[in-house]
């Protein structure tokens, strides 16, 4: 199990000519499977103004401790892999810069509300399962052959769902949702935003199937409109709006049962 100690930085930074590089303390909540409760380990590393939190982690992994574990891929806020708690706030490591956190210390922790797999890596199985449940694809209203050509959509029809389609599945919204933390059965902000994205698509015909999930115990009614999910979303998807619009939709569907000719 890692101890709480400060290591000296190795060489390899690019200091300004004639000046010693500035240093910043990076604290990471570390966990190794079977190693007991997580513990904080810290490193003081040289940094430059263009360095992101992800680069700081890569510096530590390359020069100081190769066992430090974290997810990353694209480095440009589109793959959604490097979500973590930065000073207690869910952020993408790649688009959070050390210059905005200086003089530090910077405290990094795995995304809140998810089980920690190792260090900054969380077990995302629950979210992946939820994603599959909402049918995150277009179920065509009617079968259509290739010879019938492409589907057309007006700019207004596109505007109805476009912002919700920007979700990168980074799960920051789940780390911002206390209701998900308190009851992980809750479908949660991200999956509901994507559910809404497909329900709002003029080409889709599976709204009714998805609404069963919206109405259910784990559906939208578990949301208490904290609204932090939309604050932390790096893509301005506004999942809180998707969840709360579906409360209205769910209520209307319930009342619609009393109309003649409805089941």
């Amino acid at each position: 199990m890692p101890d709480t100690s400060t290591h000296g930085a190795a060489s390899g930074a690019s200091p300004a000519p004639g000046a010693a590089p500035e240093r910043i303390e990076i604290q990471v909540l570390r966990y190794a499977p079977g190693g007991g409760a997580p513990a904080t380990q810290s490193w003081t590393i040289p940094w430059t103004r263009d360095m992101s939190v992800l680069q700081a982690l890569q510096y530590i992994k390359d020069h100081l401790d190769g066992s430090l574990t974290f997810r990353w891929s694209c480095r440009m806020a589109i793959c959604g892999s490097c979500g973590m708690m930065v000073n207690g706030v869910p952020r993408l490591g790649c688009e959070t810069f050390l210059r905005d956190l200086a003089p530090g210390p910077v405290r990094l922790e795995a995304l809140a509300h998810f089980p920690i797999e190792r260090d900054l890596v969380v077990d995302a199985e629950d979210f992946i399962g939820k994603l599959a449940k909402i049918k995150p694809y277009i179920v065509p209203k009617e079968p259509r052959g290739l010879d019938e050509g492409t589907y057309f959509q007006t700019p207004e029809e596109l505007a109805r769902y476009e912002s919700f389609s920007h979700c990168i599945n980074c799960m920051l919204c789940y780390a911002a949702c206390p209701q998900y933390g308190l009851d992980p059965k809750f479908l949660g902000p991200g999956a509901t935003a994507l559910l809404h994205r497909y329900n709002c698509d003029s080409r889709d015909g599976a709204r009714e199937e998805r609404m069963d999930l919206v109405h259910s115990e784990e559906g939208v009614w578990s949301c208490t409109a904290v609204g932090y999910c939309s604050e932390v979303c790096p893509k301005a998807v506004d999942p809180a709006s998707a969840v709360n619009q579906n409360k209205t939709a769910s209520a209307l569907d319930w009342f619609a049962r009393f109309l003649p000719g409805r089941k």
């Binding site: 207690g88 809140a112 797999e117 206390p178 933390g181 619009q245 409360k247 209205t248």
Partner: protein, 131 residues
């Protein structure tokens, strides 16, 4: 499949973790004061049904220093209640499109607060006229 030995962090004191959660809890707590004031008004209604003397006693209690202090507190809490609920309102409604453009959240919140202020002013003016 390998057995996962994950660690789940406890949720104790979650609302103290972030200032955003503190503001959310404050918003929720204001609802208690709304209920308290509804009960005060209901109590007045009961007194009114019981006759003039009982109603006058209720009015006299309203004018007591303790009651006035409580009403000042209520005013401050209601102001936060009003603002915080209109602040979340844009997230609870479908997008409002005006002239082909989506109405920004700030405009919806501002409109809500403006209506609340106007309604309060109208009620205050009516009460002044009737008094």
């Amino acid at each position: 499949m390998a057995i996962r030995r994950t660690y789940l962090r406890p949720m104790d004191g979650w609302w103290r973790r972030d200032p955003f959660f503190l503001r959310y809890m404050a918003r929720e707590a204001t609802s208690v004061f709304v209920v308290a004031y509804a009960l005060i008004l209901l109590w007045g209604l009961v007194r009114l049904a019981e006759g003039e003397a009982r109603f006058d006693a209720w009015l006299a209690w309203l004018a007591s220093p303790l009651s006035v202090a409580f009403h000042v507190l209520l005013l401050a809490v209601f102001a936060y209640h009003t603002w915080s609920w209109f602040a979340i309102m844009p997230k609870t409604m479908p997008p409002v499109v005006v002239g082909g453009r989506r109405l920004p959240a700030r405009a919806i919140t501002a409109a809500g607060v403006a209506v609340a202020v106007a309604a309060s002013a109208a009620l205050f003016a009516l009460a002044t006229v009737l008094a």
